[in-house]
């Protein structure tokens, strides 16, 4: 049988892949958003695994809401991205710099 820890380690690995993706794709906002999606899928897998092994549906309900929120969030994020493109003609922004002092 597959143990709970197998699922949790799988989602931890995916979570870290998402974080690394954010780290190395700092200037490419589209990929950055996809990495955030990856993190959320990892979190969701966590919740579902716990929910399954605890025999309690609260986790699955939470996942349903996370899916909703994340989809709405992406819609707004991409809308902001298109605005940026309209204004600047490119979407090349480093979102993590704070070097301006």
């Amino acid at each position: 049988m597959v143990s709970l820890s197998d699922y949790l380690i799988l989602s931890a690995v995916i979570f870290c892949i998402g974080l690394v993706g954010i780290f190395i794709n700092r200037t490419n906002i589209i990929t950055l958003l996809m990495c955030v999606e990856l993190i959320l899928v990892a979190v969701n897998t966590n919740f579902i695994a716990f929910s399954h092994f605890l025999g309690n549906e609260a986790g699955q309900i939470f996942v349903f809401f996370i899916l909703t929120v994340a989809a709405a969030e992406v819609a707004i994020g991409l809308a902001i991205l298109t605005l940026l493109f309209r204004n600047k003609g490119s979407i090349n922004v480093d979102v993590t710099n704070s070097l301006k002092g």
Binding site: L8, F15, G18, I22, I29, L32, L33, V36, I39, L40, A42, V43, N46, F47, A49, F50, L54, N56, A58, G59, I61, F62, F65, I66, V69, A72, E73, I76, G77, A79, I80, L81, L83, L84, N87, K88, V93, V95, T96, N97, S98, K100, G101
Partner: protein, 484 residues
């Protein structure tokens, strides 16, 4: 399948402020759609009216016995009611100031007010959230409205960039927060704050459970620190503050801080209060870093919005120090601090907005040169606000810092208190810079205050109250203490 679900409609009265606010949002949204060009001000007055009524309804619920409804996902206690009343008041003041800014920069749109109301609704949900799910949903309602509010100035690429930065870092923070929540859920088996609290404060908690809770706590604390803007998760704060339209900066630097503190209290104190020894160390490091970096980097700023951003970071550090103490009076001091901070910050941004004209943002410190000659009254108001932010004695800002330090010392964190004082003194220097340019430097250009009467009046009251309440801080301190 048997439906054993029971729902008592009478208990809905407890959520009356939220229900009223949501209904008025719907009405305002629809009314604004059918208003013709000349009557757009109606939206503004309706917004103020519904905020006022919501505030009254929330005020009415102060002293109501603690009630939990919606299957343990909504709590009404004194903290929730008092925070809601303060949030309504602060939003009303912020809207008075915003109107001037929006008309000056042709950003006056009905959606602006609707989105502000929606974000206020999200904050109310957070303040009353009693399960991880509702806290998360409230946070997202708040964040999505704020992203949109920043980007509403869609011709300014600075604002769009700020919105995008806020969005991406906010989304990452939510991801981290959720990972922490999933761990807490996984080990305690519940999303509910009271059940998590019962689980965590169980005396027979095994080492396995403690390990997993601590593991989740790290992510929760990082997520909360991100949202509060504490160092080293502060990188969004200066850019967002600078890039956003000033009226949005004012709003997002004030009212959401109350909600963030409420969320912190719900998760880390109501829920995981038993784990205080584990998270307070993390908090202490974050708080000291915030105070240090906020105070030092602010010295180098020439843009006043950016300077206020760093000053916010150091204020956040002080607020977090209040939670490090681990005693109820310390939490009370932190709550008092956040309310005072909101009050001061509103006034500071109010004065920036007051000087705004079409095509003039008044966001450089050099724009304040010679303010005392052109408008002595508002220079005096600014002086009060600045002195209060620096923590000079008779002002409100002094007492908020003083209470935090007092609690720290009595809880035995003397070294921490001394470090905080040192940086507070350093930070006084950059506040003095503004005073110097207002009073002792001359400007080449005339500063004209063109704001409407209501804004001037509210702003003056706001600033004078900082001085007056500072003379009698005990009542407010007692109020803050009574919330825990």
């Amino acid at each position: 399948m048997m439906n054993t679900f029971q729902f008592d409609t009478a208990l809905l009265l407890v959520a009356l402020p939220e229900i009223f606010l949501l209904s008025s949002i719907v009405v305002i949204l629809l009314v604004d759609l059918f208003l013709t060009k000349g009557f757009k001000q109606v939206t503004y007055y309706l917004t103020q009216f519904s905020l006022f009524i919501t505030g009254l309804l929330a005020f009415n619920l102060i002293g109501h016995p603690e009630t939990v409804i919606f299957s343990n996902s909504f709590v009404l206690d004194n903290m929730a009611s008092v925070f809601k009343v303060f949030m309504m008041g602060a939003t009303m003041v912020a809207m008075v100031y915003s109107r001037h800014y929006l008309t000056q920069h042709s950003l006056f749109r009905g959606e602006y007010f609707v989105l502000v109301l929606l974000s206020v609704l999200g904050m109310m949900v957070m303040v009353s959230g009693y399960s991880l799910l509702t806290l998360y949903l409230g946070l997202e309602i708040l964040s999505l409205s704020l992203y949109t509010l920043i980007a509403i100035a869609r011709e300014r690429s600075g604002a769009i960039e700020a919105a995008l930065k806020y969005f991406v870092l906010g989304a990452i923070a939510s991801g981290l927060l959720l990972y922490g929540m999933s761990m807490i859920y996984g080990i305690s088996g519940s999303l509910n704050i009271s059940e998590i609290s019962a689980f965590a404060s169980d005396a027979n908690l095994g080492s396995r459970e403690t390990l997993i809770i601590n593991f989740g706590l790290v992510f929760l604390v990082i997520g909360i620190a991100f949202k509060l803007g504490a160092v080293p998760f502060h990188m969004w704060v200066p850019d967002v503050y600078q890039g956003s339209p000033t009226s949005v900066t004012m709003f997002l630097s004030t009212v959401p801080k109350i909600a963030a503190v409420a969320m912190l209290v719900r998760i880390l104190i109501d829920g995981l209060g038993a784990m205080h020894p584990y998270w307070s160390d993390l908090f202490m490091v974050l708080a000291l870093l915030s105070i240090a970096l906020g105070s030092v980097v602010a010295l180098m700023q020439t843009n006043i919005k950016r300077m206020l951003a760093y000053s916010t970071i150091s204020h956040v550090g002080f607020i977090m120090l209040g939670f490090v103490t681990g005693v109820v009076t310390g939490y009370g001091a932190a709550t008092f601090y956040v309310l005072v901070y909101v009050f001061m910050s509103l006034a500071a941004f109010g004065i920036i907005i007051l000087l705004n004209k079409k095509g003039f943002e008044a966001d450089q410190i050099s724009d304040y040169k010679g303010l005392s000659k052109h408008s002595p009254w508002f220079a005096l108001m600014m002086l009060i606000v600045i002195l209060s932010m620096a923590g000079v004695p008779p002002m409100l800002g002094f007492y908020s810092k003083f209470f935090i330090l007092q609690q720290l010392v009595s809880a035995g964190f003397v070294t921490i208190a001394i470090i905080a004082v040192v940086f507070a003194v350093i930070s006084a220097y950059y506040y003095l810079q503004i005073i110097k340019s207002m009073y002792f430097e001359d400007s080449e250009k005339e500063i004209v205050v063109s704001a409407p009467m209501d804004m001037k009046l509210i702003l003056s009251i706001n600033a004078i109250l900082i001085l007056v309440i500072g003379l009698f801080p005990d009542f407010w301190m007692k109020l803050a203490l009574s919330l825990f």
